[in-house]
Each structure stands twice: as C-alpha cells, then as structure tokens.
C-alpha cells in the first residue's frame, strides 16, 4: 500500500531529526541547510495533551513573493498527503495556485489557496452530522469517521477549498488516511503541526527560497506571523463574509 513512501532514510534518522527539531523549536529560527531558515514554533505540546484555544494556527501569504511559474507548495502538498495531483473538477486539490489579473492595469498576482481555516467556518455550520469541525487550535477538519459524504460543506465553502473522493484509493500515506465517499480538505498538515513542524507547503516554499508563506500562532504576540500581521497591511479574502480566516494575504 505504501511502497511509494519507502525511501532510504531510516526510522532512526527520522526520530533523530524529530527530536532535534523538537529540541530546537524554541529558538526563533533554525538553519537546516545553508541559506534555508525554518521558523520554529515555540509551542511544544506533549503528545498526550489536548490542543487548546490558547493557540490559533494561521498562515500569511505574500503574493508579491509568489512566483508565477512555481508550483512547489502544490507538489509538496500532494506528496505529503498522497494526493493524486490531478486538477479536474472531480479531483482532490487541497491547495490550488490561483492567478488573478487586474484587467485595467494588467497587474498579475499569483497566490496559493488552501482551506482558509475560518474562525466561523460555514462548512461547520451546515454539516448535518458534526463531521466538519474546528479543532480548539483553529484547524478546520473533517472527521471522516462521521462524514456521510453529503457535500453540503462543499457548497457552503466560499473558497472552493473542499474535495470529495469519488473513487476507491490505494497507496495512502499511513499518516494521512483518505478514502472514497468522504469530503476532505487542507488540514494545515495537522500530523506535522502536532509534532511542531510547519505544513508541507510552507516548508517547500521556504526551501525553494521564495519565503512567500509564513505559518505560526496568531495568538502569540512574539510569533513571526503575529508580528508581520501587526506591522503590515494584510487582507482576508472575502472579508465581507466576516469569517475571520486563519489564512491572510499580502500584496493583493
């Protein structure tokens, strides 16, 4: 089922890396390779402790740094979550590159669109079974053990962020179960966030040198993201809906 996940790196390496990351997460920034800075997250939560609303995870996307010809975030998302990578109307896309053009001025902007992880998520409002829910730390998820596949949430989402799995799947990532008959969407890579890593898209954008995506705790005034939000003009897409999105944009 998971042959594609096999790679030469041993479990031991993985464990070492994880412990290393954990140990250094308290530092503001951490160099993983020359020129590559990963901003560490200063909230190590023991694995037996529940998430709390002291934290609210969010993302800031700088569209002026998002390159037209780059798809690194989308590719990383597909790899992490074992998505098929197709982009038809019935295919699963957890993050999409969107291009917008001002017809008057000709100005073009490119931006990645994941689930916006709203404070007041319409998908959760309409879900008849309680499968759509918001975790205490602001991550909006589908509990696929409860989802009946009705797709009301897909219609309610103003960002077209959710997908429905139409066909049986194989080759899932053991950490990211997915299957036919359920709705799914960006989870902020919850399996990574829970071990103090950033979402795969953010890691890829940073590793590729664009630094267009920043992930962190909106509630922590000392976090990079909170400082950036305080210091710069940022936008919520469809702010008129007053959903208080966890994903914010700069430059549009």
């Amino acid at each position: 089922m998971s042959e594609q996940m096999n790679h030469p790196q041993s479990d031991q390496d993985q464990a070492d890396r994880r412990n290393f990351l954990k140990a250094s997460a308290a530092a503001a920034g951490l160099t993983v390779a020359p020129g590559v800075l990963l901003y560490g997250i200063a909230h190590s939560r023991p694995e037996d402790q529940a998430v709390s609303d002291k934290v609210r995870w969010g993302m800031l996307i700088d569209t002026t740094k998002c390159a037209a010809d780059c798809n690194a975030c989308v590719t990383a998302c597909n790899t992490e979550n074992a998505l098929e990578g197709r982009t038809g109307p019935q295919d699963s896309q957890w993050i999409r590159k969107v291009s917008i053009k001002n017809l008057q001025t000709g100005a073009e902007h490119h931006l990645p669109m994941p689930c916006q992880h709203c404070e007041h998520p319409p998908c959760v409002d309409v879900c008849p079974t309680g499968a759509s829910f918001k975790r205490a730390d602001g991550i909006v998820l589908v509990d696929r053990h409860i989802c009946i596949g009705c797709r009301y949430c897909m219609m309610a989402c103003p960002y077209k962020a959710r997908s429905f799995v139409h066909e049986p799947l194989t080759e899932q990532n053991p950490e990211v179960p997915r299957g036919k008959g359920c709705v799914e969407s960006c989870t902020f890579c919850v399996q990574r966030v829970d071990r103090d890593e950033t979402p795969a898209c953010v890691e890829a954008c940073t590793a590729d040198g664009h630094m267009a995506m920043l992930f962190g705790d909106l509630n922590d005034p000392e976090s990079e993201i909170a400082k950036a939000l305080k210091g710069q003009r940022t936008t919520e897409i469809r702010a008129d809906l007053r959903l208080n999105t966890g994903v914010r944009y700069q430059g549009i």
């Binding site: 089922m1 993985q14 529940a50 010809d69 990383a76 982009t87 109307p89 179960p177």
Partner: protein
C-alpha cells in the same frame, strides 16, 4: 438496540474465543480456525486476553482523541497495530485472509471499513525533495472560483 448489539458482540467474541481455545488445545473444529501470526516484540500494548475482547473499544476511543484533541500517544494508535502486526508474507495486516486482522475477522464474520482509508502496511513518512522551479512542469490549473467542484 444497544443491548442486542452487546449480546451479539458477546456471541461473536465467544465464537472467536472458543475457536481459539480449541486451536490452542489442538482440537479440530468443523471450520478452519484462524492461525494468527505473532506480533513483533514480546507483548501487545495491553494484556493479550484483554486485547482479544476490547481492541475495538481502544481503537475507537483513541480515534476520537487523536482526531478531535490532537492526542498522538502511540500506545493505542491504529498505525501502531499495523506496525507490529503486519504479516511476514504480505507485509500487511489485511491483504490476505491469513493476515493478522483479517484472519480473525473473517473467522468471526466482522467486516471493517477502516482499510478504505487507513494503510494496511507500515510506511515511512514521505520525503520532500527540495523542489526546484527551474523548468518544472506546471499542471493545468483549475483556478476558477465559480462552479466546478463536484
């Protein structure tokens, strides 16, 4: 409703247990008894006898803890079961009728939907190669905000 289910469960378990007791005693029953491969390590995450009867409760409890509260203790995790109980031949807990979970469930006529989504083989985390944009092929974008997704 619940009490009928409880009774049925007790019956199913009694059936499976009786079968295994006979297998242990070398008795021959009318049906092929499940031969279970031993898991990795010395012992299971709880007493063997307790696991036979209660593994489904542990899994369902842990599922909700992980999903809703982000609690990721390895002890009662489904991923953990798969890592220790994957069969030597198939590398899976449920690829063939001999594999650990399916052998017993086939015997007790239990059908799970878990494997529609959950991997039945242990696997490593995906590795992200440092991407390079130079000349990277871009798949066509489905970027319209209106209509579309079904």
């Amino acid at each position: 409703m619940a009490s009928i289910l409880d009774r049925l469960r007790t019956l199913a378990l009694a059936g499976a247990m009786a079968g295994m007791a006979m297998a242990a005693g070398g008795l021959q029953a009318g049906v092929d008894l499940p031969k279970l491969e031993r898991g990795k390590g010395d012992k299971c995450v709880e007493e063997t006898q307790f696991m036979r009867r209660n593994h489904m409760e542990l899994l369902k409890h842990h599922r909700d803890e992980t999903m809703h509260k982000g609690i990721r203790t390895p002890k009662h995790s489904l991923k953990g079961c798969v890592e220790c109980h994957a069969g030597a031949k198939t590398g899976s807990v449920a690829a063939s009728k001999e594999d650990f979970c399916s052998a017993c469930h086939a015997y007790a006529s239990v059908k799970l939907d878990c494997w529609d989504c959950h991997a039945t083989k242990p696997g490593k985390r995906p590795i992200h190669s440092i991407p390079s944009t130079a000349g990277a092929a871009m798949p066509p974008m489905d970027s319209g905000m209106a209509g579309g997704h079904r």
